[in-house]
């Protein structure tokens, strides 16, 4: 394994990064033409006469396939009864009827006055349906014309998420691109991260003092990425611990994390050539209850007096309780979480804090392996994209608002389409 931290940089990689950014930005701005669609039926105001005794039915009722689903929904749109626009309207609502195949009409929904659409999510693919909508008064119903028969269609690709796909492709593509670049032997520069540089010393200190290292992987289960990040770091840390012949202790709040943690430490000890030194007692399940776990860990801290404490993963209100107790027993503490609300407490009470992104980058950084460092470089491309988009957006919005420049407004509209998430 070779370490390339803090040394090489290269002109060429900078150039290709810029190239990617330019291409991506152009792609965002040009793409909408590729899948612009006309939405919704034409709105035609019905000219039916508004009788006094009877209410006008709804008009322009259209049943259409709901787009980009698994063929399990149909969308109805209509123009509300003309009587609905009167101030003291007699309409109390609308009732949607469905006919499956040639069957009997079945009321499937009651809607308030003013409604003009309904999404029927109780249909089956490959069945045919038709609909009509009744205008309801206190006493009677006034049905509309029936729609044509229709059956829900399944779409295989969600074109609404085209931009999400492009953005994912851009960022993931950048990561994968730099991973391959690094694999081909190109040296990539990664700056120093203080909290991670400190890990070796912190473990060494535990060895010298003859006290254990305490590793707290947060209180969430394996379905939280922060826990995964903690476990990848555990892989590196426990390897160092095995090499230094220190002791590690890892109390956990979830059984799955216990199993995974044991697996990780065991593998690290095997890789370090000391499989005999591993024992299942290094990792113990305490309880799933947030503060029950905290009570127990606090107890462990004051009784075992660890020399080094790692607090990495998903933390909530307990962050400060744990960090302050660890501080009071004189441990060196290295913390990291992706929860912005808890970071200030770690900053206040720990020696080193991995802020958000640094937590996820930690394992790659510690590995020093070219491919992993390449992925960090790829992440940076994502940052550049974000910064460029913010700049373009802010400038165009400012100009569009202050001087009413239409061209800027167009750019802005395009950006908000690209970045809308649904």
């Amino acid at each position: 394994m070779t370490f390339h931290r803090g040394r090489t940089s290269s002109l060429a990689s900078g150039f290709s990064a810029r190239l990617i950014i330019v291409i991506v930005v152009i792609a965002f701005l040009a793409a909408p033409a590729m899948w612009s669609r006309a939405d919704g039926p034409d709105i035609v105001l019905a000219g039916s006469d508004s009788a006094l005794v009877s209410l006008a039915p709804v008009t322009s009722l259209v049943a259409a396939d709901n787009t980009y689903d698994n063929g399990d929904a149909l969308r109805l749109t209509w123009v509300p009864s003309i009587d609905d626009r009167l101030i003291d309207s007699k309409i109390i609502g609308y009732r949607v009827y469905r006919l499956a195949g040639t069957g009997e009409p079945e009321a499937i929904a009651d809607l308030p006055p003013g409604s003009n659409q309904y999404l029927d999510e109780t249909v089956l693919r490959d069945s045919v349906y038709s609909y009509y909508v009744s205008t309801l008064s206190e006493r009677a119903e006034f049905p509309s014309n029936r729609t044509a028969v229709i059956s829900p269609q399944r779409e295989w690709i969600n074109l609404d998420r085209g931009y999400l796909f492009l953005i994912a492709l851009a960022i993931a593509g950048a990561v994968i691109y730099y991973v391959t670049v690094a694999k081909r032997g190109k040296k990539l520069f990664v700056r120093k991260i203080a909290g991670l540089e400190a890990i070796d010393d912190a473990v060494g200190r535990a060895t010298e003092m003859g006290r254990p290292v305490l590793f707290i992987p947060g209180i969430h289960d394996m379905d939280d990425v922060q826990t995964l990040a903690a476990l990848t770091i555990l892989g590196r840390v426990s390897r160092t611990i095995a090499d230094y012949e220190s002791k590690i202790f890892m109390p956990v709040a979830r059984s799955l994390v216990m199993t995974a943690g044991r697996e990780v430490i065991k593998s690290s000890y095997q890789a370090a050539g000391r499989p005999d030194a591993y024992s299942d007692d290094m990792v113990n399940y305490i309880t799933d209850e947030q503060f029950g776990y905290v009570a127990a860990v606090d107890g462990i801290m004051v009784r075992e007096k660890p020399a080094t404490v790692f607090l990495l993963g998903a933390f909530f209100a307990e962050s400060l309780i744990l960090a302050e107790t660890g501080n009071s027993v004189g441990a060196i503490q290295i913390a990291g979480t992706a929860r912005p609300a808890q970071l200030p407490f770690f900053i206040a009470a720990c020696d080193f804090t991995l802020i958000g992104e640094e937590l996820f980058a930690a394992s790659a950084y510690l590995s020093g392996e070219p491919r992993q460092l390449g992925s960090l470089k790829g992440q940076d491309v994502g940052k550049v994209i974000a910064m460029v988009v913010i700049m373009i957006g802010v400038i165009s919005l400012t100009f569009a608002e202050a001087w009413k420049i239409e061209f800027m407004q167009d750019i802005l509209d395009r950006l908000s389409v690209v970045f809308s998430t649904n």
Binding site: G6, S9, L164, I167, A168, I171, A172, F189, V190, R191, M222, D223, V225, L228, L256, T259, A260, E263, T287, D288, E289, F291, G292, A295, A296, G299, R303, P340, A341, L343, P344, F345, I347, I355, G356, E357, A361, L376, K377, Q379, D380, G382, K383, A386, M387, V389, I390, M391, G393, V394, L397, T398, A400, E401, A402, L412, S416, F419, S420, T421
Partner: protein, 211 residues
């Protein structure tokens, strides 16, 4: 019975508070009670909600749930040393599922939403009301844009923080520090109300000193 529960609550509450002085048998007792009972509580909850509620009541409609149960069973093979390594399979499934799921979620909710939210005019006529009207709003929106931008520069990994780039990154960390200070200061308030609640319980509900 109610009387007993009240005294028990008070006894355990004081046991936990005694930890502030130092570790002691009273705290150890409260801790032991807490760990044992809460672990049992969670097992029972998981048993009824997940195993019975989600699996046993659901597999007739969704036979695929048996795959989940099979993966769970593989997990138990850890107890058999010779084939214990098979328990890595369910773990691998979980790692894959968590990664795949959150990759797209974070992309949408953390990156795209936040980038879009940062796009705001540097000055606008609409800042006429509110607590930060007037020039405060102009400075405010400038600060948001500059702060987000420089903050991102701080997180930049593949460039040494030197020169103009380093100075920008330093502005970024200034903003991050203000953020931390502000959140810390703000949180102090609601943390106090928790303690007020507990002391209210001890002095009021238990000792009846408050009327």
């Amino acid at each position: 019975m109610e009387h007993f529960a009240l005294w028990l609550s008070a006894f355990l509450t004081l046991g936990i508070l005694s930890f502030l002085y130092k570790d002691n048998p009273w705290y150890k007792l409260s801790e032991a009670v807490f760990v044992g009972i809460s672990a049992g509580f969670w097992f029972v909850t998981l048993f009824w909600d997940n195993l019975v509620g989600k699996f046993w009541d659901g597999w007739q409609d969704e036979p695929m749930l048996w795959v989940g149960a099979a993966l769970g069973f593989l997990m138990l093979l850890r107890l058999v040393p010779r084939i214990g390594w098979i328990s890595r399979w369910p773990l691998a499934f979980i790692v894959g599922a968590t990664s795949g799921l959150w990759l797209m979620n974070y992309l949408a909710s953390n990156i795209m939403v936040q980038v879009q939210a940062t796009i705001q005019p540097l000055f606008s006529t609409s800042y006429a009301s509110g607590p930060d009207a007037g020039w405060g709003a102009i400075v405010g929106s400038l600060v948001i844009v500059v702060g987000t931008f420089t903050g991102l520069v701080y997180f930049y990994f593949s460039k040494e923080h030197k020169g103009a780039f380093g100075a920008t990154a330093r502005v970024g960390i200034f903003f991050i520090m203000i953020t931390f200070g502000a959140s810390f200061g703000y949180t102090v308030m609601s943390r106090m109300s928790l303690l007020i609640g507990r002391i209210d319980f001890l002095l009021g509900d238990w000792l009846g000193l408050i009327n």
